[in-house]
């Protein structure tokens, strides 16, 4: 193990991106992710990289588009309102099959909302965000160590599948400090024969574009993309399961909500309640098979979210009517405490036992 250092989640993302070979960062400041930009501003010039504070989020995402077209590992980061501004660019990146890493340290919305942590951009992230038929890969870290590891993975996945990969964090995981070590190995670099790196008069021009005026060609392009998505669902889905095997009550939660829920599950087990936790690490692809498997024995699912209930729809799809799914939430920048989640578990347990 390398030496562990104490770092904010946002800083860990930035350092991990550099270690993954990212030398180009374009961004625009917004709380609660500004530490990423600050870290990049400090480090990039020292290692021959580029930090650029664009004039707006829209400009930044289009710089990402250009940089990615040239085959570079590139990243941008923002928080909820800024991601909405970037959404047009996200759709264009998808339409041009360009790899890029996008960080969203979510804050409460809609609109300008607030600056406190939230998970209410789940729909936006997992359904693509912009217009058209497409998905992004979406990774949800729950610790500072995972912020680092998943950032490196995000670059690898993005290059391998020629897709945008979003790190869906939140204000808490971005602002908290935990020990982190950087002794992981980034994946092998992926060849990018499609990149616009100059023909050197040795090959035909590469064209990176998202415009297909012939509908049958565009349809075929979209079908191919969705075939790729199916493969990704088979191979890249990740989730952590905690005491799920014999659980009657299964909590499903990601990121900071999963951290809070784990405390509640441990407390419930101490009191003889068979509770468990599924923590999706990939939100797209969603670990639907893992949830479906738990639905073979669990009698109640509880989706714990920092939103009015968004992921709960994916839980319901995966559970497929085999058990009731309820919601335990705080929204608008509030965070559920373990006691609230415990109460939801205890109440569900009471109902289950009353029914027997």
């Amino acid at each position: 193990m390398g030496e562990k250092v104490l770092m904010k989640g946002n800083e860990a993302i930035a350092e991990a991106a550099i270690q993954a070979g990212c030398r180009h960062y374009f961004g625009y400041p917004i709380t609660p992710q500004t530490e990423i930009a600050a870290y990049m501003a400090k480090r990039m010039p020292k290692i021959g990289g580029l930090f650029l504070q664009a004039e707006s989020e829209i400009a930044a995402i289009n710089m990402v588009y250009g940089c990615s077209s040239a085959g570079m590992r590139v990243m941008t980061s923002s928080s909820s309102p800024g991601i909405s501004l970037k959404s047009e660019g996200l759709s264009y990146l998808a339409g041009a099959d360009l790899p890029a890493v996008i960080v969203n340290a979510q804050r409460g919305g809609p609109g300008l909302g607030g600056i406190q942590p939230s998970q209410s951009d789940y729909f936006q992230a997992t359904r693509g965000g912009g217009h058209g038929d497409y998905h992004m890969l979406v990774l949800a870290p729950a610790s500072v160590q995972e912020m680092a590891e998943l950032t490196v993975k995000a670059f690898d996945l993005a290059d391998r599948y020629r897709m945008t990969c979003m790190i869906l964090a939140d204000g808490t995981t971005g602002q908290m400090m935990e020990p982190v070590s950087f002794d992981f190995v980034p994946g092998e670099p992926v060849a990018k024969p499609w990149a616009t790196t100059g023909t050197k008069m040795e090959r035909k021009h590469n064209i990176v574009n998202s415009l297909y005026l012939l509908p049958d060609v565009l349809e075929q392009k979209n079908i191919e993309r969705y075939e790729k998505y199916e493969k990704i669902k088979e191979t890249e889905t990740m989730a952590e399961e905690f005491m799920v095997e014999d659980a009657d009550i299964v909590i499903v939660a990601f990121g900071i909500a999963a951290r809070v829920s784990k405390n509640a599950v441990i407390a419930a087990r101490k009191n003889g309640i068979k509770a468990g936790l599924i923590r999706p690490i990939t939100l797209w692809p969603y670990p639907e098979k893992i949830v479906a498997k738990a639905a073979e024995h669990a009698k109640q699912f509880i989706s714990v979210e920092l939103s009015m209930g968004q992921m709960i729809e994916d839980v319901k799809l995966a559970v497929d009517g085999k058990a009731p799914v309820s919601l335990c939430f705080r929204a608008g920048g509030m965070i559920p405490m373990p006691e609230q989640v415990y109460d939801a578990i205890a109440e569900a347990d009471k109902k289950l036992k009353g029914g027997n």
Partner: protein
């Protein structure tokens, strides 16, 4: 064992920093730690706090509703968090800045005139570190070598000249009776 600390006061008093020193010291000792600030539209003079958890086991939620230890550096913080401290816990008060006494009788209370002590040693901005020194002493965690190492990690090279002064402030807190 898990211990939860809440450092609360005005922005600019250095509570986020003393929390970080405590966390770094625990990290050096191989413990699990988390540190999380209140962040908001805050400014110098506004309220600020940070939560630090030190544990032998992996830490679940980094958030704290009922701290074992409260370090209060202004009256609004004591008013707000006194009732939240776990029974049997501790409250450390900068008695230069907070005139009232703690009302709870089920917690151990330490009154340290940290701002006065820091002023007397010629470093009025280091009241936070005086309190941190006392804090580590009362929880029997004051280890001179590791405190020094933690300070070295938390003080940037640019401010290396302040290392000794910070150490001295912590020592002042430790030895205050």
């Amino acid at each position: 064992m898990t211990r939860e600390y809440l450092f609360a006061g005005f922005g600019g008093q250095g509570l986020l920093f003393s929390g970080k020193v405590l966390a770094y010291k625990a990290l050096i000792e191989g413990k699990h730690v988390s540190w999380i600030p209140s962040y908001g539209p805050e400014m110098r003079g506004g309220t600020a706090n940070c939560s630090v958890i030190v544990s032998d086991d992996p830490i679940g939620a980094p958030l704290i509703s009922h701290p074992d230890v409260l370090v209060a550096m202004n009256l609004p913080s004591l008013d707000k968090y006194e009732s939240e401290v776990k029974p049997g816990g501790m409250i450390l008060v900068d008695s230069t800045l907070i005139e009232r006494k703690v009302e709870r009788t089920d917690v151990d209370v330490y009154y340290i005139p940290a701002s006065r002590l820091a002023g007397e040693m010629g470093a009025p901005t280091l009241a936070n570190m005086v309190l941190a020194g006392k804090l580590l002493q009362v929880v029997s965690e004051y280890d001179e070598e590791n405190v020094g190492k933690a300070l070295a990690k938390c003080i940037s090279a640019r401010h290396a000249d302040l290392l000794d002064l910070n150490f001295k402030a912590m020592d002042t807190g430790k030895t205050f009776e």
